[in-house]
Symmetry: C2
Subunit: 163 residues, 2 copies
């Protein structure tokens, strides 16, 4: 909180005229990010694209969110653990739900033969890991534009690195 105050140019105790507490701040960031992702998933589910397109659209959304809202996404990805109950449980429920809905898309895609057979859970968690990890190296991709980054990642994940 003292760092945050200094960044704004006020003393730490003055922060408490604007926010209720540190945990309230954490709460609002985590749930704001969560609802953005959920809203996009809602839209994807409503469309009648094929399941490959749906997953691709979700992947692209994750990549864009990390590139454009880095700080908030980072906090939501790393600091949610320090959420206080009942918010911690609530957040985890939202996340589990999100994952389940993605897994359901993968399952339909496998049934249709669009997606390779295999464990849908592994597919989805691996895809989510791959895009999430971008937050760790996004500052390291000098000379590569955001759209090249996005397209290369999507190609890699949909068709692999093998030629």
């Amino acid at each position: 909180m003292r760092e945050l105050a200094e960044a704004i140019g006020i003393e730490a105790p003055s922060l408490y005229n604007y926010i209720g507490s540190k945990s309230e701040l954490l709460h609002s960031i985590c749930f704001k990010v969560a609802s953005t992702f959920i809203q996009h998933l809602d839209e994807v589910e409503r469309k009648d694209d094929d399941n490959i397109k749906k997953i691709e659209s979700i992947i692209r959304f994750h990549i864009r969110m990390i590139l454009k809202n880095f700080d908030e996404v980072f906090v939501a990805n790393h600091e949610w653990k320090h959420l206080q109950e009942p918010y911690l449980s609530e957040f985890l429920t939202l996340r589990r739900n999100y994952e389940r809905r993605m897994i359901a898309i993968a399952e339909k895609g496998i049934k249709n033969g669009e997606i390779k057979s295999g464990q849908p859970k592994i597919i989805i968690f691996t895809l989510l890991s791959a895009v999430r990890g971008l937050e760790l190296w996004q500052n390291n991709k000098k000379n590569i534009s955001n759209s090249t980054l996005e397209n290369n990642m999507v190609t890699l994940l949909t068709t692999g690195f093998k030629n």
Copy 2:
């Protein structure tokens, strides 16, 4: 340190009969893990497998390390930031080197036509992100054996999820 002491069943100050400091402990874990990965990369480079096989072997090693040495790998992945200088810089140099060597393998593979053309940096960082993220959900894969997990992830990353 107090938690650690309790887990062992002694008082916190007694820990200091066994270790020099908290940061020394962190240092030894981070560099032990780093050297294990580097040693494996050395071996991979010495073999004359094709470049696809080399990358696959590295991916498999990462997955196995996470599954079998979870705690240490987790610390090395997350707490290295708190390493004190000059160890922080040293650690980062090791990691950058490791990444560069993997990227060099990808570059050769692209030149040979084994690997899809594209930015080798993006390929490698995405692969590393994908396997690293396993640490976040490895406790979530009930009913899936380690070898199924490993094989499914490798298939996904080498050939994509699209059928």
